[in-house]
């Protein structure tokens, strides 16, 4: 009854329509943000962030969960911010994982180079004459 009364006036209908369009835009932006945050978390997981930097990874997952919860409760600003933070947290977790792995690889390579050099000079010195 109340609702029907609300939309009787044309200007009110217009205003409501505008609100719907606006909130639709906002919903879409939030929806997209939540999707890319989810994607970032998934990529971090694939990179091995859960094992390499568990605290960073868990933070991203936690923020994504809270962002979804806030979206469910129509706290859009909170949801948007949490989702953005979840994305940067996930990106950082992934970058830290990648760089830790690269640094490990670089160190291993340097170590194996030393072993190789030692072995080669040893082999050359012990070569039968």
């Amino acid at each position: 009854m109340m609702r029907a009364h609300l939309f009787h006036h044309p200007s009110r209908m217009l205003a409501a329509g505008c609100l719907l369009v606006l909130s639709g835009c906002a919903n879409e932006a939030l929806h997209n943000q939540l999707a890319s945050s989810r994607e970032a978390v998934d990529q971090a997981k694939i990179a091995g962030a859960a094992e390499t930097v568990p605290a960073d990874f868990d933070l991203a997952v936690d923020k994504l969960n809270r962002a979804n919860a806030a979206a469910d409760h129509r706290r859009k600003d909170d949801a948007m911010r949490l989702a953005q933070q979840a994305q940067i947290d996930a990106d950082l977790a992934r970058a830290r994982t990648d760089s830790a792995q690269s640094r490990f690889a670089a160190a291993e390579m340097a170590k194996s180079n030393q072993v190789l050099r030692d072995a080669l000079s040893h082999a050359n010195q012990n070569q039968p004459r």
Binding site: I88, D98, A106, S121
Partner: protein, 311 residues
């Protein structure tokens, strides 16, 4: 009129109070915003100071700076939630920039290590392939003939051989060396013994100059006792006026070192004694002979080369 003024002042005062209330945020919020913005600024400065960030993650750093700008703008409106959020984004984008740069730097290090490894392998292969010509097989002996008559000056044509010997010896650091000095049969045996020692010393000096440790070298004066050619001809005598560099075989070498140490000190001290006895008379002859000999030497060298060409 008075009434109006009083009324308007009251409104003004109320407005000012209201404005004051809305512009002065709680002290806790100020501290939180300042800390958040401060931390973000610090993270950005730190990342900007890293040359790898400028090189590899500049766009991420720019986004961090952008977020910091948004945080400051939000705080100018005293929106604490937006301020801390944007500061958080700024700080973490700076950290991300740093981490991306670290990752690229590590990649560079891997590329360098790979190049170094290839280089090490290539060098070792080259060394290994080069070794058969360099390694000393068993005993090695090289004669350096052509000393000018009466002198211990190294013949010019011996220099390439000395250089080759020095490089071989340096690549075989474990091997001891014996240098023998020889003379032709002209002159007294004592004189020839001393001259032979000087010839050996001249070769040792040349090898040491080329980087061979003198501690590896043992000298022996053979004098005129071991000719390799007839002393009846000029060419034969030139062949006999020589030094010989001997690198004993490894097995013999190890035993020879022990035995040679005793015998060397005996020979060298004996040689020195003899030299002292002989030197006074000889040195003058030698020096004179040396200068004359230089010219003779060169002539002889050229002859020697010519002879070889003729052969």
């Amino acid at each position: 009129m008075k009434h109006v003024i009083r009324w308007s002042t009251g409104v003004l005062a109320a407005g000012m109070v209201a404005a004051g209330c809305s512009t002065a945020p709680p002290a806790g919020n100020v501290a939180a915003a300042n800390t958040a913005i401060g931390n973000a600024g610090q993270a950005i400065d730190q990342a900007a100071a890293d040359p790898h960030v400028a090189k590899y993650a500049n766009s991420e750093l720019e986004r961090a700076t952008d977020s910091l700008g948004k945080a400051k703008a939000a705080w100018s409106k005293h929106d604490l939630a937006a301020t801390t959020h944007q500061a958080y984004m700024a700080q973490h984008r700076a950290a991300l920039a740093q981490e991306l740069a670290n990752e690229r730097a590590a990649h560079d290090a891997i590329a360098v290590a790979a190049t170094n490894r290839d280089h090490a392998v290539a060098m070792a292969m080259a060394e290994r392939h080069a070794q058969p010509t360099v390694a000393i097989p068993g005993q090695m002996q090289e004669a350096l003939p052509g000393f000018a008559f009466g002198t211990a000056k190294l013949p010019a044509k011996a220099k390439p051989a000395i250089a080759a010997l020095a490089s071989t010896l340096k690549e075989n650091p474990g091997r001891p060396v014996v240098i023998e000095g020889h003379t032709d049969s002209v002159g007294s045996p004592e004189y020839n013994h001393a001259l032979a020692m000087k010839r050996a010393e001249a070769v040792r000096a040349a090898l040491v100059r080329s980087g061979v440790e003198s501690s590896r070298i043992t000298l022996r004066a053979e004098g005129e006792h071991n000719p390799v050619a007839s002393n009846d001809t000029k060419a034969g005598r030139s062949e006999n006026r020589r030094a010989e560099v001997i690198i004993p075989s490894m097995e013999a070498g190890t035993t020879a070192v022990g035995s040679s140490e005793g015998s060397t000190s005996a020979t060298s001290s004996g040689g020195q004694n003899e030299q002292k006895g002989e030197q006074r008379g000889d040195q003058q002859n030698d020096q004179r002979g040396d200068k004359q000999g230089d010219r003779q030497d060169q002539q002889q060298d050229e002859q020697g080369v010519d002879d070889r060409h003729r052969e």
